[in-house]
Symmetry: C2
Subunit: 226 residues, 2 copies
């Protein structure tokens, strides 16, 4: 049975009016493992909220711990201030998108991209519990480079006081995935235009040490593969 | 004089309350050339709008023609329907973000990423003029691969009827840029943690022809460099 297991933990997020697309429904997924994998591959999200009635879309870092996403920022930044000020929390939409390839069709109309995205709707709340704040900040650093939180100086009291952490539960969530080649109309297949996919190259170039790096500090193991 | 030239075309967008950041103001730019360069390097934006009082952030393709951005979609998709239905247009925030590198500091607090982003606030309007729609659709295809619009079958009447195009003028616009190494506190410089930048590798892998590509169609010149 989709969406449930023998136990109490469903394997899928329950679809809602706003997570069921009006079209291309075959690209949507509510599978928790699919959603987690997309979220765990990234570290930059686009956080949407409403300010003075108008939408704002802010690129920012995020981290996942189980069924919770965390975003952090200066206590002086606008969305973080808004979360703290609003008792019921701040209504947000958090979107993570990975582009996998460019899809070139014979017809202009069927051009597309291959991508995997996750959209989370919900109410963001400020995190005040010190232990949860620590775990959230570690997760934010480890999303950028796995294993890095343990190899850096943890935030001190002054830094913690300047940092606001907000939490968004994974509850109203959907993934959207497009993969594969170009889907042209049958009558266009013989047109003299190349069709196919140009895959994005993923990865990193050689790490560049800081100019002020103390001598004798080699590249850590977790960066050796980059 | 910043923001003006001898003529009538200012070289910068005029800052507004919502495009002046509350912090890290040194990262903000209103220079039109800077903004155009960031927009022209990308093809995926995150489009934010308000639906039933709640924010929605949708990843979608965009194209730029001069001081206008274009987004397209099925006439049945939600934001496009909303634009058509609302006479005064749909208030949106369109954000484009390029991640350039991971910034690893000795302190967890100063971890960051190098990025270039553009945020556009404004009212999106549906485009009905056939000639402007054609130019917008060409720009959308050419953003994905420069020169591709001329080497594909243009949209036919049926496809044009199924496609909504919306326009957002570049007026209330800002860029935000972070570059360079880690900015640790002076007292942390001697800590035994590696610090520096891991640059993202940009580019594409070898194009993958569609399984149904007609024989004798070689890779076009504009993809030869990929």
């Amino acid at each position: 049975m989709p969406g449930t297991t023998a136990g109490t933990h469903p394997t899928e997020y329950a679809p809602t009016d706003r997570t069921v697309p009006t079209r291309a429904a075959d690209r949507a997924s509510y599978d928790k493992e699919v959603v987690h994998a997309i979220l765990d591959e990234g570290y930059v999200c686009h956080l949407g909220f409403v300010r003075d009635g108008a939408p704002v879309v802010l690129p920012t870092l995020y981290g996942r711990v189980g069924e919770r996403l965390y975003v952090h920022g200066s206590t002086g930044s606008r969305p973080l201030r808004m979360t703290g000020a609003a008792d019921p929390g701040l209504e947000v939409c958090l979107t993570v998108t990975h582009v996998d390839g460019l899809v070139l069709a014979r017809s202009a109309f069927h051009h597309s991209i291959n991508y995997r995205s996750v959209m989370v709707h919900g109410i963001a709340h400020e995190v005040t519990d010190p232990e949860e704040r620590r775990r959230a900040l570690d997760a934010l650093v480890d999303h950028v480079v796995a294993g890095r939180a343990a190899d850096s100086r943890p935030a001190n009291k002054k830094e913690l006081a300047a940092t606001a952490v907000i939490r968004l539960d994974l509850d109203e969530v959907s993934a959207k995935i497009r993969s594969g080649g170009a889907n042209d109309e049958p009558e266009d297949l013989a047109l003299p235009h190349w069709a196919g996919v140009v895959p994005l190259r993923k990865g990193y170039d050689a790490p560049v040490p800081n100019a002020d790096l103390a001598s004798g500090i080699g590249l850590p193991d977790y960066l050796a593969g980059e």
